[in-house]
């Protein structure tokens, strides 16, 4: 069994050798559990962020 890596170069070599393709379940997930696995969901998320930014930027008073 391989020991703990001794260098970044060794780590990179292991990653290059053994890395496999990502799977479809590797997606961004918001805190409410929404999986950002489609363009529509991402755009809805970005719209919500934009509204929050606009609210934050609104001057008080």
């Amino acid at each position: 069994m391989s020991e703990f890596v001794k260098s970044i170069e060794e780590l990179q070599e292991r990653v290059n050798r053994y890395a496999r393709l990502r799977t479809a379940d590797d997606v961004s997930i918001t805190w409410d559990g929404t999986r950002l696995d489609s363009k529509e969901k991402v755009l809805a998320f970005l719209d919500e962020l934009a509204r929050d930014r606009a609210t934050t930027a609104t001057p008080e008073g």
Binding site: F4, L11, Y18, L21, D26, S28, D37, K39
Partner: protein, 190 residues
Amino acid sequence: MREPRPPDVGRIVEALNRHGVEYLLVGGVAAAAHGARRLTADADTVIRRTTDNLEATAAVLQDLHAYLLVDGLSDDEAKALPVQIDALALSRMEISTWRTDAGDLDVLMEIPAGDGTRRNYEDLLPRAVDATYGADRTIVHIAALDYQHHRSKRWSNRPKDHEALPELRAILNARDSHSVVAEREAGPGR
């Protein structure tokens, strides 16, 4: 979307350290550091969830020309999404998956623990292995294999995580994680 190439770990670590991001390597790259051979082509990090650290992480993603990975979208379509990479956007995602010039990079705020609870950066840091690399003594915090990988993957519902469990268990049985930490702490010159 084009197939990912393995992450450029050195470049990712350099960018994170240069921006002063407080992070841990977790997931497949961290498991590879411990000797595992089952890993996906992305670099997973758990970052400390403070505004300053989120801003620093956002700066890293910007430096690496990151764009959000979205299943079903081509690279050009994903790049065209109006994603403003900043602390606010990162704070709203428990997990964010990015494609960068240095390969795929996931930014996590927490990971599931074996008891149904969740572990964040502060929880994981005390048991991390502090690996020091290179002439410039780059410090990389790598999550301990026994605590993070085994217990979190045990509770994961993803088939690939369950597939990785036997190997991780074998590594743990063959080597004590505490002895690895002791070896690091008793390194040359200390």
